[in-house]
Point group: C2
Chain length 302, copies 2
Amino acid sequence: MSRFDVTILGANSAIPTANRFPTAQLLNINESYYLIDCGEGTQIQLRKNKLKFQRIEVIFISHLHGDHYFGLIGLLTTMHLLKREKPLKIVGPEKLWEIITLQLDVAGTKLAYPVTFEPISFSNGALLHSDTKIEVTALKLNHRIACAGFVFKQKPKEPSVRKDKIQDHQLTIDEIKELKSGNSIERKGKELLNELIVQPQQPKAYAYVTDTKMNEQIIPFIKEVDLLYHETTFKKHETKRAKETYHSTTHQAAEIALKANVTKLMIGHYSTRYDNLEELRQECMEVFENTVLATEGETILV
Amino acid sequence: MSRFDVTILGANSAIPTANRFPTAQLLNINESYYLIDCGEGTQIQLRKNKLKFQRIEVIFISHLHGDHYFGLIGLLTTMHLLKREKPLKIVGPEKLWEIITLQLDVAGTKLAYPVTFEPISFSNGALLHSDTKIEVTALKLNHRIACAGFVFKQKPKEPSVRKDKIQDHQLTIDEIKELKSGNSIERKGKELLNELIVQPQQPKAYAYVTDTKMNEQIIPFIKEVDLLYHETTFKKHETKRAKETYHSTTHQAAEIALKANVTKLMIGHYSTRYDNLEELRQECMEVFENTVLATEGETILV
Protein backbone atom coordinates (compact mmCIF):
# COMPACT_ATOMS: atom_id res chain seq x y z
CA MET A 1 0.00 0.00 0.00
CA SER A 2 1.16 3.46 -0.75
CA ARG A 3 1.36 6.00 2.05
CA PHE A 4 -0.36 9.37 1.80
CA ASP A 5 -1.01 11.24 5.02
CA VAL A 6 -0.70 14.64 6.61
CA THR A 7 0.70 15.52 10.06
CA ILE A 8 -0.52 18.70 11.72
CA LEU A 9 2.32 20.84 13.13
CA GLY A 10 0.19 23.86 13.92
CA ALA A 11 -3.46 24.77 13.40
CA ASN A 12 -3.93 28.08 15.17
CA SER A 13 -4.69 31.36 13.42
CA ALA A 14 -2.61 34.56 13.60
CA ILE A 15 -1.47 34.65 17.22
CA PRO A 16 0.63 31.79 18.58
CA THR A 17 -0.02 30.91 22.21
CA ALA A 18 2.10 28.94 24.63
CA ASN A 19 0.63 25.66 23.39
CA ARG A 20 -0.97 26.34 20.00
CA PHE A 21 1.32 26.89 17.04
CA PRO A 22 0.45 28.72 13.80
CA THR A 23 -0.16 26.87 10.56
CA ALA A 24 2.13 24.15 9.24
CA GLN A 25 1.38 20.67 7.88
CA LEU A 26 3.68 17.89 6.73
CA LEU A 27 2.51 15.72 3.87
CA ASN A 28 4.05 12.26 3.64
CA ILE A 29 3.70 10.59 0.26
CA ASN A 30 5.55 7.28 0.29
CA GLU A 31 8.19 8.73 2.61
CA SER A 32 8.72 11.86 0.51
CA TYR A 33 7.93 14.92 2.61
CA TYR A 34 6.17 18.08 1.47
CA LEU A 35 5.73 20.98 3.88
CA ILE A 36 2.63 23.15 3.59
CA ASP A 37 3.03 26.58 5.22
CA CYS A 38 5.61 27.22 7.91
CA GLY A 39 4.52 29.43 10.83
CA GLU A 40 6.95 30.48 13.56
CA GLY A 41 8.23 27.47 15.49
CA THR A 42 7.65 24.92 12.71
CA GLN A 43 11.20 23.56 13.06
CA ILE A 44 10.57 23.07 16.78
CA GLN A 45 7.34 21.20 16.00
CA LEU A 46 9.09 19.01 13.43
CA ARG A 47 11.66 18.04 16.06
CA LYS A 48 9.04 17.44 18.75
CA ASN A 49 7.23 15.08 16.39
CA LYS A 50 10.50 13.40 15.39
CA LEU A 51 9.99 14.17 11.71
CA LYS A 52 13.25 14.25 9.76
CA PHE A 53 13.02 17.65 8.16
CA GLN A 54 15.97 17.09 5.83
CA ARG A 55 13.61 14.72 4.02
CA ILE A 56 11.39 17.63 2.94
CA GLU A 57 11.52 18.02 -0.85
CA VAL A 58 9.17 20.89 -1.52
CA ILE A 59 7.82 23.68 0.70
CA PHE A 60 4.55 25.36 -0.29
CA ILE A 61 3.74 28.78 1.20
CA SER A 62 0.14 29.90 0.67
CA HIS A 63 0.55 33.63 1.35
CA LEU A 64 2.67 36.20 3.14
CA HIS A 65 0.86 36.65 6.42
CA GLY A 66 3.34 35.82 9.15
CA ASP A 67 1.45 32.95 10.74
CA HIS A 68 2.02 31.04 7.49
CA TYR A 69 5.71 31.69 6.82
CA PHE A 70 7.67 33.32 9.69
CA GLY A 71 9.22 29.95 10.51
CA LEU A 72 10.60 29.41 6.99
CA ILE A 73 13.86 31.36 7.21
CA GLY A 74 14.73 29.59 10.47
CA LEU A 75 14.05 26.19 8.96
CA LEU A 76 16.14 26.97 5.85
CA THR A 77 19.00 28.19 8.07
CA THR A 78 18.89 25.11 10.28
CA MET A 79 18.90 22.82 7.21
CA HIS A 80 22.05 24.69 6.17
CA LEU A 81 23.73 24.48 9.57
CA LEU A 82 23.02 20.74 9.63
CA LYS A 83 24.85 20.41 6.29
CA ARG A 84 21.95 19.58 4.01
CA GLU A 85 23.07 18.86 0.46
CA LYS A 86 19.81 17.66 -1.07
CA PRO A 87 18.04 20.20 -3.33
CA LEU A 88 14.98 21.97 -2.00
CA LYS A 89 12.17 23.57 -3.92
CA ILE A 90 10.09 26.41 -2.52
CA VAL A 91 6.75 27.36 -4.04
CA GLY A 92 5.33 30.65 -2.80
CA PRO A 93 4.33 34.24 -3.56
CA GLU A 94 6.98 36.05 -5.58
CA LYS A 95 8.03 38.46 -2.79
CA LEU A 96 8.92 35.53 -0.53
CA TRP A 97 12.13 34.98 -2.41
CA GLU A 98 13.15 38.63 -1.94
CA ILE A 99 12.62 38.30 1.82
CA ILE A 100 14.62 35.08 2.05
CA THR A 101 17.53 36.31 -0.02
CA LEU A 102 17.69 39.58 1.95
CA GLN A 103 17.83 37.67 5.24
CA LEU A 104 20.51 35.28 3.96
CA ASP A 105 22.55 38.20 2.56
CA VAL A 106 22.67 40.20 5.80
CA ALA A 107 23.75 37.05 7.66
CA GLY A 108 26.52 36.40 5.15
CA THR A 109 25.00 32.94 4.60
CA LYS A 110 25.30 31.07 1.33
CA LEU A 111 23.11 27.99 1.62
CA ALA A 112 25.04 24.73 1.38
CA TYR A 113 22.24 23.13 -0.68
CA PRO A 114 20.59 24.20 -3.94
CA VAL A 115 17.21 25.92 -3.67
CA THR A 116 14.88 26.55 -6.56
CA PHE A 117 12.06 29.00 -6.13
CA GLU A 118 8.80 28.76 -8.04
CA PRO A 119 6.52 31.81 -7.80
CA ILE A 120 2.86 30.94 -7.39
CA SER A 121 0.46 31.63 -10.21
CA PHE A 122 -2.74 32.54 -8.37
CA SER A 123 -5.33 30.92 -10.62
CA ASN A 124 -7.52 27.87 -10.15
CA GLY A 125 -5.92 24.76 -11.61
CA ALA A 126 -2.51 26.31 -12.35
CA LEU A 127 0.21 23.67 -12.17
CA LEU A 128 2.70 24.46 -9.38
CA HIS A 129 4.70 21.27 -9.04
CA SER A 130 4.96 17.82 -10.54
CA ASP A 131 7.23 14.92 -9.70
CA THR A 132 7.04 11.13 -9.93
CA LYS A 133 4.63 10.95 -7.00
CA ILE A 134 2.34 13.96 -7.12
CA GLU A 135 1.00 16.83 -9.10
CA VAL A 136 0.18 20.03 -7.24
CA THR A 137 -2.17 22.67 -8.59
CA ALA A 138 -3.26 26.05 -7.24
CA LEU A 139 -6.55 27.34 -5.90
CA LYS A 140 -7.27 31.07 -6.02
CA LEU A 141 -8.52 31.99 -2.56
CA ASN A 142 -10.16 35.22 -1.49
CA HIS A 143 -8.14 36.81 1.31
CA ARG A 144 -6.86 40.30 2.17
CA ILE A 145 -3.67 39.62 0.24
CA ALA A 146 -2.99 37.13 -2.57
CA CYS A 147 -3.45 33.66 -1.12
CA ALA A 148 -3.30 30.24 -2.75
CA GLY A 149 -4.79 26.90 -1.85
CA PHE A 150 -3.17 23.69 -3.03
CA VAL A 151 -4.51 20.45 -4.47
CA PHE A 152 -2.14 17.50 -4.08
CA LYS A 153 -3.02 14.65 -6.47
CA GLN A 154 -1.20 11.36 -6.52
CA LYS A 155 0.07 10.43 -9.95
CA PRO A 156 -2.08 7.65 -11.48
CA LYS A 157 -0.35 4.34 -10.97
CA GLU A 158 -0.29 1.17 -13.05
CA PRO A 159 -3.35 -0.94 -12.27
CA SER A 160 -2.57 -4.16 -10.42
CA VAL A 161 -3.67 -7.64 -11.45
CA ARG A 162 -5.41 -9.54 -8.66
CA LYS A 163 -3.09 -12.14 -7.16
CA ASP A 164 -5.83 -14.77 -6.82
CA LYS A 165 -6.65 -14.43 -10.50
CA ILE A 166 -2.99 -14.86 -11.53
CA GLN A 167 -3.06 -18.11 -9.55
CA ASP A 168 -6.47 -19.29 -10.80
CA HIS A 169 -5.73 -18.71 -14.46
CA GLN A 170 -1.97 -19.31 -14.32
CA LEU A 171 -1.49 -16.05 -16.20
CA THR A 172 1.74 -15.56 -18.17
CA ILE A 173 3.83 -12.38 -17.94
CA ASP A 174 2.69 -11.36 -21.43
CA GLU A 175 -0.94 -11.84 -20.43
CA ILE A 176 -0.44 -9.73 -17.28
CA LYS A 177 1.08 -6.95 -19.39
CA GLU A 178 -1.88 -7.11 -21.76
CA LEU A 179 -4.31 -6.89 -18.86
CA LYS A 180 -2.43 -3.97 -17.27
CA SER A 181 -2.62 -2.06 -20.54
CA GLY A 182 -6.40 -2.21 -20.24
CA ASN A 183 -7.28 -5.04 -22.61
CA SER A 184 -8.99 -8.32 -21.91
CA ILE A 185 -7.41 -11.62 -23.02
CA GLU A 186 -8.62 -14.82 -24.58
CA ARG A 187 -8.16 -18.29 -23.15
CA LYS A 188 -9.27 -21.23 -25.33
CA GLY A 189 -11.87 -19.10 -27.07
CA LYS A 190 -13.21 -17.76 -23.76
CA GLU A 191 -12.65 -14.11 -22.91
CA LEU A 192 -11.18 -13.20 -19.50
CA LEU A 193 -12.69 -9.79 -18.88
CA ASN A 194 -10.24 -7.09 -17.78
CA GLU A 195 -12.54 -5.59 -15.16
CA LEU A 196 -12.83 -8.93 -13.33
CA ILE A 197 -9.08 -9.43 -13.07
CA VAL A 198 -7.53 -5.98 -12.82
CA GLN A 199 -7.85 -3.59 -9.87
CA PRO A 200 -7.62 0.02 -10.95
CA GLN A 201 -5.45 2.11 -8.57
CA GLN A 202 -7.46 5.12 -7.54
CA PRO A 203 -5.07 8.06 -7.07
CA LYS A 204 -5.93 10.01 -3.95
CA ALA A 205 -6.18 13.76 -3.57
CA TYR A 206 -5.77 16.24 -0.71
CA ALA A 207 -6.97 19.84 -0.97
CA TYR A 208 -5.58 22.53 1.33
CA VAL A 209 -7.74 25.62 1.66
CA THR A 210 -6.44 28.14 4.15
CA ASP A 211 -7.19 31.85 4.70
CA THR A 212 -10.20 32.69 2.58
CA LYS A 213 -13.70 34.09 2.57
CA MET A 214 -16.18 31.44 1.55
CA ASN A 215 -15.39 30.95 -2.11
CA GLU A 216 -17.56 28.66 -4.25
CA GLN A 217 -15.39 29.16 -7.31
CA ILE A 218 -12.93 26.60 -6.02
CA ILE A 219 -15.55 23.83 -5.87
CA PRO A 220 -14.96 22.38 -9.36
CA PHE A 221 -11.24 22.13 -8.53
CA ILE A 222 -11.64 20.25 -5.25
CA LYS A 223 -14.50 18.03 -6.42
CA GLU A 224 -14.53 14.65 -4.68
CA VAL A 225 -11.09 14.92 -3.10
CA ASP A 226 -10.47 12.33 -0.39
CA LEU A 227 -9.56 14.93 2.22
CA LEU A 228 -10.31 18.64 2.26
CA TYR A 229 -8.60 20.89 4.79
CA HIS A 230 -10.65 24.07 5.05
CA GLU A 231 -10.01 26.92 7.46
CA THR A 232 -12.67 27.64 10.06
CA THR A 233 -11.33 30.69 11.85
CA PHE A 234 -14.77 31.45 13.29
CA LYS A 235 -17.91 29.81 14.62
CA LYS A 236 -21.09 29.71 12.55
CA HIS A 237 -22.69 32.93 13.84
CA GLU A 238 -19.61 35.06 13.22
CA THR A 239 -20.38 35.57 9.52
CA LYS A 240 -19.92 39.33 9.71
CA ARG A 241 -16.52 39.12 11.38
CA ALA A 242 -15.51 36.34 8.97
CA LYS A 243 -16.43 38.46 5.96
CA GLU A 244 -14.63 41.53 7.28
CA THR A 245 -11.43 39.61 7.96
CA TYR A 246 -11.63 37.46 4.80
CA HIS A 247 -12.03 34.24 6.74
CA SER A 248 -14.61 31.42 6.91
CA THR A 249 -17.01 30.11 9.51
CA THR A 250 -17.61 26.46 10.38
CA HIS A 251 -20.84 26.29 8.38
CA GLN A 252 -19.25 27.91 5.35
CA ALA A 253 -16.39 25.40 5.31
CA ALA A 254 -18.82 22.51 5.73
CA GLU A 255 -20.99 23.80 2.88
CA ILE A 256 -17.98 23.86 0.58
CA ALA A 257 -17.19 20.28 1.61
CA LEU A 258 -20.79 19.25 0.92
CA LYS A 259 -21.04 20.95 -2.45
CA ALA A 260 -17.67 19.57 -3.56
CA ASN A 261 -18.77 16.12 -2.40
CA VAL A 262 -15.46 15.43 -0.66
CA THR A 263 -14.97 12.29 1.43
CA LYS A 264 -13.69 13.92 4.59
CA LEU A 265 -13.37 17.47 5.91
CA MET A 266 -10.57 18.57 8.27
CA ILE A 267 -10.91 21.98 9.88
CA GLY A 268 -8.34 24.32 11.43
CA HIS A 269 -6.85 27.85 11.65
CA TYR A 270 -8.78 28.35 14.85
CA SER A 271 -9.14 31.80 16.34
CA THR A 272 -7.32 32.12 19.65
CA ARG A 273 -10.66 33.07 21.24
CA TYR A 274 -11.85 29.44 21.11
CA ASP A 275 -10.76 26.96 23.77
CA ASN A 276 -13.25 24.20 23.04
CA LEU A 277 -12.48 23.24 19.45
CA GLU A 278 -14.89 20.30 19.56
CA GLU A 279 -17.70 22.87 19.40
CA LEU A 280 -16.41 23.99 16.00
CA ARG A 281 -16.41 20.38 14.79
CA GLN A 282 -19.98 19.88 16.00
CA GLU A 283 -21.10 22.95 14.06
CA CYS A 284 -19.52 21.61 10.87
CA MET A 285 -21.19 18.25 11.39
CA GLU A 286 -24.61 19.93 11.31
CA VAL A 287 -23.87 20.43 7.60
CA PHE A 288 -21.23 17.83 6.75
CA GLU A 289 -21.01 14.71 8.88
CA ASN A 290 -17.50 13.43 8.22
CA THR A 291 -15.54 16.24 9.86
CA VAL A 292 -12.35 16.01 11.92
CA LEU A 293 -10.28 18.59 13.77
CA ALA A 294 -6.73 19.45 12.74
CA THR A 295 -4.88 18.69 15.97
CA GLU A 296 -1.20 19.39 16.59
CA GLY A 297 0.87 16.23 16.42
CA GLU A 298 -1.88 14.10 14.85
CA THR A 299 -1.60 12.37 11.50
CA ILE A 300 -4.63 12.02 9.19
CA LEU A 301 -4.76 9.55 6.33
CA VAL A 302 -5.77 11.03 2.98
CA MET B 1 14.55 48.71 46.72
CA SER B 2 14.70 49.08 42.99
CA ARG B 3 14.31 46.05 40.79
CA PHE B 4 16.91 45.13 38.18
CA ASP B 5 16.95 41.56 36.91
CA VAL B 6 17.14 39.51 33.75
CA THR B 7 14.98 36.53 32.74
CA ILE B 8 16.44 34.02 30.30
CA LEU B 9 14.05 33.13 27.45
CA GLY B 10 16.58 31.20 25.40
CA ALA B 11 20.28 30.44 25.75
CA ASN B 12 21.07 28.01 22.96
CA SER B 13 23.29 28.81 20.01
CA ALA B 14 22.33 28.66 16.33
CA ILE B 15 20.11 25.58 16.13
CA PRO B 16 16.92 25.47 18.22
CA THR B 17 16.02 22.04 19.56
CA ALA B 18 12.71 20.77 20.87
CA ASN B 19 13.50 22.12 24.35
CA ARG B 20 16.28 24.69 23.97
CA PHE B 21 15.40 28.03 22.46
CA PRO B 22 17.82 30.45 20.76
CA THR B 23 18.93 33.68 22.43
CA ALA B 24 16.52 36.09 24.10
CA GLN B 25 16.62 37.82 27.49
CA LEU B 26 14.15 40.09 29.23
CA LEU B 27 15.52 42.84 31.42
CA ASN B 28 13.20 44.15 34.12
CA ILE B 29 14.18 47.54 35.53
CA ASN B 30 11.55 48.66 38.00
CA GLU B 31 8.82 46.99 35.94
CA SER B 32 9.98 48.53 32.66
CA TYR B 33 10.88 45.76 30.22
CA TYR B 34 13.76 45.71 27.77
CA LEU B 35 14.19 42.77 25.40
CA ILE B 36 17.69 41.71 24.38
CA ASP B 37 17.78 39.67 21.19
CA CYS B 38 14.77 37.78 19.92
CA GLY B 39 15.39 34.32 18.47
CA GLU B 40 12.60 32.27 16.88
CA GLY B 41 9.93 31.40 19.42
CA THR B 42 10.64 34.31 21.80
CA GLN B 43 6.96 35.29 21.87
CA ILE B 44 6.10 31.72 22.86
CA GLN B 45 8.70 31.85 25.66
CA LEU B 46 7.36 35.20 26.89
CA ARG B 47 3.89 33.65 27.13
CA LYS B 48 5.14 30.50 28.82
CA ASN B 49 6.87 32.62 31.45
CA LYS B 50 3.78 34.84 31.82
CA LEU B 51 5.72 37.98 30.97
CA LYS B 52 3.49 40.75 29.63
CA PHE B 53 5.24 41.54 26.39
CA GLN B 54 3.24 44.70 25.72
CA ARG B 55 5.26 46.16 28.59
CA ILE B 56 8.46 45.95 26.53
CA GLU B 57 9.75 49.46 25.81
CA VAL B 58 12.93 48.86 23.85
CA ILE B 59 14.20 45.85 21.89
CA PHE B 60 17.94 45.50 21.35
CA ILE B 61 19.16 43.22 18.55
CA SER B 62 22.88 42.44 18.67
CA HIS B 63 23.38 41.22 15.10
CA LEU B 64 21.63 39.69 12.12
CA HIS B 65 22.27 36.00 12.58
CA GLY B 66 18.90 34.33 12.74
CA ASP B 67 19.21 32.83 16.20
CA HIS B 68 19.23 36.41 17.53
CA TYR B 69 16.35 37.98 15.61
CA PHE B 70 14.10 35.57 13.65
CA GLY B 71 11.44 35.91 16.36
CA LEU B 72 11.26 39.69 16.11
CA ILE B 73 8.85 40.08 13.18
CA GLY B 74 6.45 37.61 14.80
CA LEU B 75 6.55 39.48 18.10
CA LEU B 76 5.98 42.85 16.41
CA THR B 77 3.04 41.39 14.48
CA THR B 78 1.47 39.87 17.59
CA MET B 79 1.83 43.18 19.47
CA HIS B 80 -0.08 44.72 16.56
CA LEU B 81 -2.80 42.07 16.47
CA LEU B 82 -3.28 42.51 20.21
CA LYS B 83 -3.87 46.25 19.63
CA ARG B 84 -0.76 47.69 21.22
CA GLU B 85 -0.77 51.48 21.20
CA LYS B 86 2.32 52.17 23.30
CA PRO B 87 5.40 53.29 21.36
CA LEU B 88 8.21 50.81 20.84
CA LYS B 89 11.85 51.49 20.14
CA ILE B 90 14.05 49.02 18.30
CA VAL B 91 17.84 49.28 18.41
CA GLY B 92 19.64 47.08 15.91
CA PRO B 93 21.86 46.82 12.83
CA GLU B 94 20.71 49.14 10.06
CA LYS B 95 19.52 46.40 7.69
CA LEU B 96 17.11 45.08 10.31
CA TRP B 97 14.71 47.91 9.58
CA GLU B 98 14.72 47.07 5.86
CA ILE B 99 13.82 43.45 6.66
CA ILE B 100 11.00 44.43 9.01
CA THR B 101 9.45 47.00 6.69
CA LEU B 102 9.61 44.58 3.75
CA GLN B 103 7.81 41.90 5.76
CA LEU B 104 5.15 44.32 6.97
CA ASP B 105 4.65 45.69 3.45
CA VAL B 106 4.04 42.32 1.80
CA ALA B 107 1.50 41.48 4.53
CA GLY B 108 -0.30 44.78 3.98
CA THR B 109 0.23 45.50 7.69
CA LYS B 110 0.54 49.01 9.07
CA LEU B 111 1.48 48.68 12.73
CA ALA B 112 -1.12 50.09 15.12
CA TYR B 113 1.63 51.50 17.39
CA PRO B 114 4.52 53.86 16.69
CA VAL B 115 7.94 52.29 16.23
CA THR B 116 11.20 54.19 16.20
CA PHE B 117 14.29 52.51 14.91
CA GLU B 118 17.80 53.37 16.07
CA PRO B 119 20.64 51.90 14.01
CA ILE B 120 23.52 50.61 16.10
CA SER B 121 26.80 52.41 16.04
CA PHE B 122 29.30 49.58 16.42
CA SER B 123 31.90 51.23 18.65
CA ASN B 124 32.80 50.73 22.27
CA GLY B 125 30.95 53.15 24.52
CA ALA B 126 28.62 54.56 21.85
CA LEU B 127 25.34 55.68 23.42
CA LEU B 128 22.41 53.65 22.06
CA HIS B 129 19.57 54.52 24.40
CA SER B 130 18.83 56.65 27.42
CA ASP B 131 15.66 57.09 29.44
CA THR B 132 14.79 57.97 33.03
CA LYS B 133 15.89 54.55 34.26
CA ILE B 134 18.86 53.42 32.21
CA GLU B 135 21.58 54.32 29.81
CA VAL B 136 22.63 51.74 27.24
CA THR B 137 25.96 51.82 25.47
CA ALA B 138 27.47 49.59 22.78
CA LEU B 139 30.33 47.13 22.79
CA LYS B 140 32.10 46.33 19.55
CA LEU B 141 32.32 42.54 19.39
CA ASN B 142 34.38 40.45 17.01
CA HIS B 143 32.10 38.11 15.06
CA ARG B 144 31.67 37.01 11.45
CA ILE B 145 29.28 39.89 10.82
CA ALA B 146 28.90 43.20 12.69
CA CYS B 147 27.81 42.36 16.22
CA ALA B 148 27.21 44.58 19.24
CA GLY B 149 27.25 43.92 22.94
CA PHE B 150 25.27 46.13 25.30
CA VAL B 151 25.99 47.69 28.68
CA PHE B 152 22.88 48.58 30.68
CA LYS B 153 23.64 51.10 33.44
CA GLN B 154 21.08 52.31 35.89
CA LYS B 155 20.82 56.07 36.04
CA PRO B 156 22.46 57.42 39.22
CA LYS B 157 19.78 58.08 41.77
CA GLU B 158 19.52 60.71 44.50
CA PRO B 159 21.40 59.51 47.59
CA SER B 160 19.17 58.66 50.51
CA VAL B 161 19.54 60.04 54.04
CA ARG B 162 19.63 57.34 56.70
CA LYS B 163 16.30 57.15 58.51
CA ASP B 164 17.92 56.57 61.93
CA LYS B 165 19.98 59.73 61.49
CA ILE B 166 16.93 61.83 60.57
CA GLN B 167 15.42 60.61 63.87
CA ASP B 168 18.57 61.05 65.97
CA HIS B 169 19.29 64.57 64.77
CA GLN B 170 15.69 65.64 64.12
CA LEU B 171 16.82 66.87 60.69
CA THR B 172 14.70 69.52 58.94
CA ILE B 173 13.64 69.25 55.29
CA ASP B 174 16.12 71.98 54.36
CA GLU B 175 18.93 70.12 56.12
CA ILE B 176 18.01 66.88 54.30
CA LYS B 177 18.14 68.71 50.98
CA GLU B 178 21.54 70.09 51.86
CA LEU B 179 22.81 66.63 52.77
CA LYS B 180 21.42 65.07 49.58
CA SER B 181 23.22 67.66 47.52
CA GLY B 182 26.48 66.32 48.93
CA ASN B 183 27.26 68.91 51.65
CA SER B 184 27.66 68.43 55.36
CA ILE B 185 25.69 70.61 57.79
CA GLU B 186 26.41 72.41 61.02
CA ARG B 187 24.54 71.93 64.28
CA LYS B 188 25.45 74.29 67.17
CA GLY B 189 28.97 74.71 65.82
CA LYS B 190 29.42 70.95 65.39
CA GLU B 191 29.66 69.54 61.89
CA LEU B 192 27.43 66.60 60.91
CA LEU B 193 29.56 64.86 58.28
CA ASN B 194 27.73 63.98 55.04
CA GLU B 195 29.31 60.53 54.69
CA LEU B 196 28.04 59.45 58.08
CA ILE B 197 24.45 60.36 57.34
CA VAL B 198 23.95 59.84 53.61
CA GLN B 199 23.89 56.51 51.80
CA PRO B 200 25.06 56.83 48.22
CA GLN B 201 22.88 54.81 45.81
CA GLN B 202 25.18 52.63 43.77
CA PRO B 203 23.73 52.32 40.24
CA LYS B 204 24.03 48.78 38.97
CA ALA B 205 25.22 47.62 35.58
CA TYR B 206 24.61 44.61 33.35
CA ALA B 207 26.83 43.81 30.38
CA TYR B 208 25.61 41.54 27.58
CA VAL B 209 28.33 40.02 25.43
CA THR B 210 27.06 37.58 22.84
CA ASP B 211 28.64 36.15 19.68
CA THR B 212 32.31 37.10 19.73
CA LYS B 213 35.84 35.83 19.60
CA MET B 214 37.63 36.55 22.85
CA ASN B 215 38.01 40.30 22.75
CA GLU B 216 40.00 42.10 25.44
CA GLN B 217 39.25 45.51 24.00
CA ILE B 218 35.86 45.51 25.66
CA ILE B 219 37.33 45.13 29.15
CA PRO B 220 37.55 48.86 30.02
CA PHE B 221 33.88 49.21 29.06
CA ILE B 222 32.57 46.38 31.22
CA LYS B 223 34.88 47.06 34.19
CA GLU B 224 33.31 46.07 37.51
CA VAL B 225 29.78 45.53 36.22
CA ASP B 226 27.54 43.67 38.65
CA LEU B 227 26.63 40.99 36.12
CA LEU B 228 28.37 40.03 32.91
CA TYR B 229 26.65 37.73 30.42
CA HIS B 230 29.33 36.28 28.17
CA GLU B 231 28.79 33.68 25.50
CA THR B 232 30.49 30.32 25.92
CA THR B 233 29.58 28.47 22.75
CA PHE B 234 32.37 25.96 23.32
CA LYS B 235 34.25 24.11 26.04
CA LYS B 236 37.76 25.13 27.04
CA HIS B 237 39.70 22.85 24.69
CA GLU B 238 37.78 23.93 21.58
CA THR B 239 39.87 27.08 21.08
CA LYS B 240 40.52 26.32 17.41
CA ARG B 241 36.86 25.79 16.59
CA ALA B 242 35.94 28.88 18.65
CA LYS B 243 38.41 31.03 16.72
CA GLU B 244 37.25 29.72 13.34
CA THR B 245 33.60 30.40 14.10
CA TYR B 246 34.23 33.70 15.94
CA HIS B 247 32.96 32.37 19.25
CA SER B 248 34.39 32.00 22.78
CA THR B 249 35.27 29.10 25.03
CA THR B 250 34.43 28.81 28.73
CA HIS B 251 37.96 29.76 29.82
CA GLN B 252 38.04 32.76 27.52
CA ALA B 253 34.76 34.11 28.90
CA ALA B 254 35.94 33.55 32.46
CA GLU B 255 39.22 35.34 31.75
CA ILE B 256 37.34 38.37 30.48
CA ALA B 257 35.22 38.32 33.65
CA LEU B 258 38.35 38.09 35.78
CA LYS B 259 40.24 40.86 34.00
CA ALA B 260 37.18 43.14 34.06
CA ASN B 261 36.77 42.39 37.76
CA VAL B 262 33.01 41.87 37.43
CA THR B 263 30.95 40.65 40.37
CA LYS B 264 29.22 37.74 38.66
CA LEU B 265 29.52 35.94 35.34
CA MET B 266 26.55 34.34 33.56
CA ILE B 267 27.31 32.08 30.61
CA GLY B 268 25.16 30.93 27.67
CA HIS B 269 24.82 30.50 23.88
CA TYR B 270 25.59 26.84 24.33
CA SER B 271 26.42 24.70 21.34
CA THR B 272 23.76 22.07 20.68
CA ARG B 273 26.48 19.42 21.08
CA TYR B 274 26.52 19.88 24.88
CA ASP B 275 23.92 18.17 27.04
CA ASN B 276 25.58 18.65 30.42
CA LEU B 277 25.83 22.42 30.76
CA GLU B 278 27.08 22.18 34.33
CA GLU B 279 30.41 21.01 32.87
CA LEU B 280 30.73 24.36 31.10
CA ARG B 281 30.08 26.18 34.37
CA GLN B 282 32.71 24.10 36.17
CA GLU B 283 35.28 25.00 33.51
CA CYS B 284 34.55 28.71 33.97
CA MET B 285 34.88 28.38 37.72
CA GLU B 286 38.45 27.11 37.31
CA VAL B 287 39.21 30.71 36.29
CA PHE B 288 36.38 32.78 37.76
CA GLU B 289 34.53 31.42 40.77
CA ASN B 290 31.23 33.32 40.74
CA THR B 291 29.75 31.83 37.56
CA VAL B 292 26.14 30.86 36.87
CA LEU B 293 24.42 29.26 33.90
CA ALA B 294 21.86 31.11 31.80
CA THR B 295 18.89 28.76 32.15
CA GLU B 296 15.59 29.13 30.30
CA GLY B 297 12.87 30.49 32.54
CA GLU B 298 15.23 31.56 35.34
CA THR B 299 15.61 35.12 36.59
CA ILE B 300 19.00 36.46 37.75
CA LEU B 301 19.35 39.58 39.88
CA VAL B 302 21.82 42.13 38.56
